[in-house]
Symmetry: C2
Subunit: 360 residues, 2 copies
DNA sequence: GTGAAAGCGCTAACAT
DNA sequence: ATGTTAGCGCTTTCAC
């Protein structure tokens, strides 16, 4: 049913070789008139290349695999979008597979992807964090993008967590705060340890003495903001600001402060980390450091495409930086709501929908 | 480099036909001893079928296309996950493409997917809502799954919004409420109109007179909860409960009520719709009707796979039902926090990560 | 500048 | 029960 180059060749009165040369923009010279004739015919006849046949010959599919932890994870879809947008300009497609952090599933996925002759793989928050012999043997390039573990490998994209923490701390310090409580994530996590580093470094840079009493460890969840606040309020010299290593703990802290009758940011300023949806829905909305998921995705796709193009087996690791999003929980102009107050991060599509809403 | 059936045939001392028959579980009879020999050899030699070659021959790729509005949309990843989980048991893969609600992008995507010989397409929240001649001509089955427009086509999956609204209303009525304010979405939206229907029907079923003063129209956003509450509080006979057509407006209503010094659910009960993440993070957490995204995805994959298997061009439309999630904003036992209070919906993965966290 | 032909790895008639 | 062989649609040497 679908049109093949054979039929076009017949219609144009040339050989399939010529048609192929025209249609693939081969550097082999082709008479300009012939080229046009073929091009027009292909267009008229509605020719669509059969990628299977092409791939069988060239062993390239213009498709890469994206092995993600779980497409439902909060940061993952944005990373995928970053990858896909970058792939698009190179006409690449992507197959998305969930690994659920299961090494067997991941191995299986790798094999299946090789079976499908994909041109490379991006591992997003993978369990796997080391060179993979199967892929190396199949000569398929791959890169890692890791929020959780940072740069895990030469070919990987990570986040500059120290920079992110410094962004938050600088903001607080510029607002005049000198006693800043830090609600960290559990020790041993890359994110906790590096953000902690950023916290301490920024204090040092500003000649503010480090006080271990101002650091508590949470478990990333909202609840852990409560004991943290209890601790801080019990200190003889209370902090005037709080930096939480994620938005959930920041939210818990805000709730706890409000329970004590304290106002945020009036009495105590709060900064979070991640820029989860809640940060723009809570009261007050939360100043935070945005996790640059989209950019990480883009960077990883760029890395992989580069490796594919250069037949390279390795690439320089990339570290992406987040940015500070100032909202009501500290630093926003008094009485003035920030632009996205109470707006979900998905507003753009809603607007789009409204415009195109059916008249019925 | 990779092992082919040719090499296995040579190694086993049989023809490629036999190897193919064994490896594809063809019904053609094969001697059991030979079968075992081939199987072992394939295993030892690390044989992986070349899907490109197989597909070129069979015109089946075990891959479907998923054209989504935008993978970052709040409901979309869950739908994709539902699709993928169902596909998995049939060993199907999926290529995900963002259409951004752009008809040209969608058309382009359809062509590209046909080029790649995919076996079918699932349109998730697509702009396209009608039979597609290109796909029909290519004889590729497709189904729609639409949260926004409901069942748009014979081969489609929608949500039973009336049922969802009834769930919310029944809950409120069982709690003793008889004056229930309804904050609807904008008129003309399928979701608004059908939820409104459910609202009115449930009132009728319970012999509660319908009072147009108890219905206001919001714009789906948090802000629109504020004027709604202002209106309700201005009535001579105030409602004792509010049903908002989505969680964002429910949140805005809660904020507005709290601004007036009223307690939720103490003074006024509130029910939302969708079960967005915010519903389990706000104070109080919000009782709501869960949008059955995962189930919709599953249902659509089931529909499509069925059509592929039966060579069918059409299938019975499916309507999926959501369910009520009771939280603090009404109906939860006094003083007792519901299980997911302050927990994000992504907790499971976090727990998983914690267990497998590196010791360093 | 053009064409003939080999062949990518596999499946499925059609033999035997 | 097994083998031979013709392609699937395309790219790419190699020859002209």
């Amino acid at each position: 049913m679908p049109v093949t180059i054979n039929e076009i060749a017949k219609a144009a009165g040339v050989s399939v070789a010529t048609v192929s040369r025209v249609l693939t923009n081969n550097d082999h010279p082709v008479n300009e008139a012939t080229r046009q004739r073929v091009l027009n015919l292909a267009n008229e006849m509605g020719y669509r290349p059969n990628m299977m046949a092409r791939s069988l010959k060239t062993d390239r599919t213009l498709t890469i695999g994206i092995i993600v932890d779980n497409i439902i994870s909060p940061f993952t879809p944005t990373m995928i979008r970053g990858i896909q947008d970058h792939l698009k300009q190179a006409e690449y497609f992507s197959v998305v597979i969930n690994s659920d952090w299961n090494p067997e599933t991941e191995t299986r996925a790798i094999h299946d992807l090789i079976s499908r002759s994909i041109d490379g793989i991006i591992f997003v928050e993978s369990f796997l964090r080391e060179p993979n012999p199967t892929l190396d043997l199949a000569n398929k390039p791959y890169v890692f993008v890791h929020r959780i573990f940072g740069n895990v490998h030469r070919n990987s994209v990570g986040v500059d967590e120290r920079y992110g923490a410094q962004l938050a701390m600088d903001h607080l310090i510029k607002l005049g705060h000198r006693r800043i409580g830090f609600i960290n994530g559990p020790a041993g996590w890359h994110a906790s340890d590096t953000r902690y580093l950023g916290y301490k470094e920024t204090l040092a840079q500003n000649n503010i003495p480090f006080d271990p009493e101002l650091v508590v460890e949470g478990d990333w969840e909202v609840q852990s903001g409560f004991p943290a606040v209890k601790h801080f309020l019990g200190l003889s010299a209370r902090p005037t600001a709080l930096f939480a290593a994620n938005d959930f703990m920041a939210l818990g802290a805000i709730y706890a402060l409000q329970d004590e009758g304290l106002s945020v940011p009036g009495d105590i300023a709060v900064v979070g980390y991640d820029d989860r949806e809640i940060a723009s829905l809570s009261r007050p909305t939360i100043t935070t450091v945005r996790m640059p998921c989209y950019e990480m995705g883009e960077a990883s796709a760029k890395l992989l495409l580069g490796m594919i193009a250069n037949q390279a087996r390795s690439a320089e690791p990339v570290k992406v930086q987040g940015k500070l999003i100032v909202r009501e929980s500290c630093g926003a102009e008094k009485g003035k709501r920030t632009a996205d107050t109470y707006h979900s991060q998905t507003t753009p599509r809603r607007l789009l929908m409204r415009k195109r809403r059916p008249s019925t």
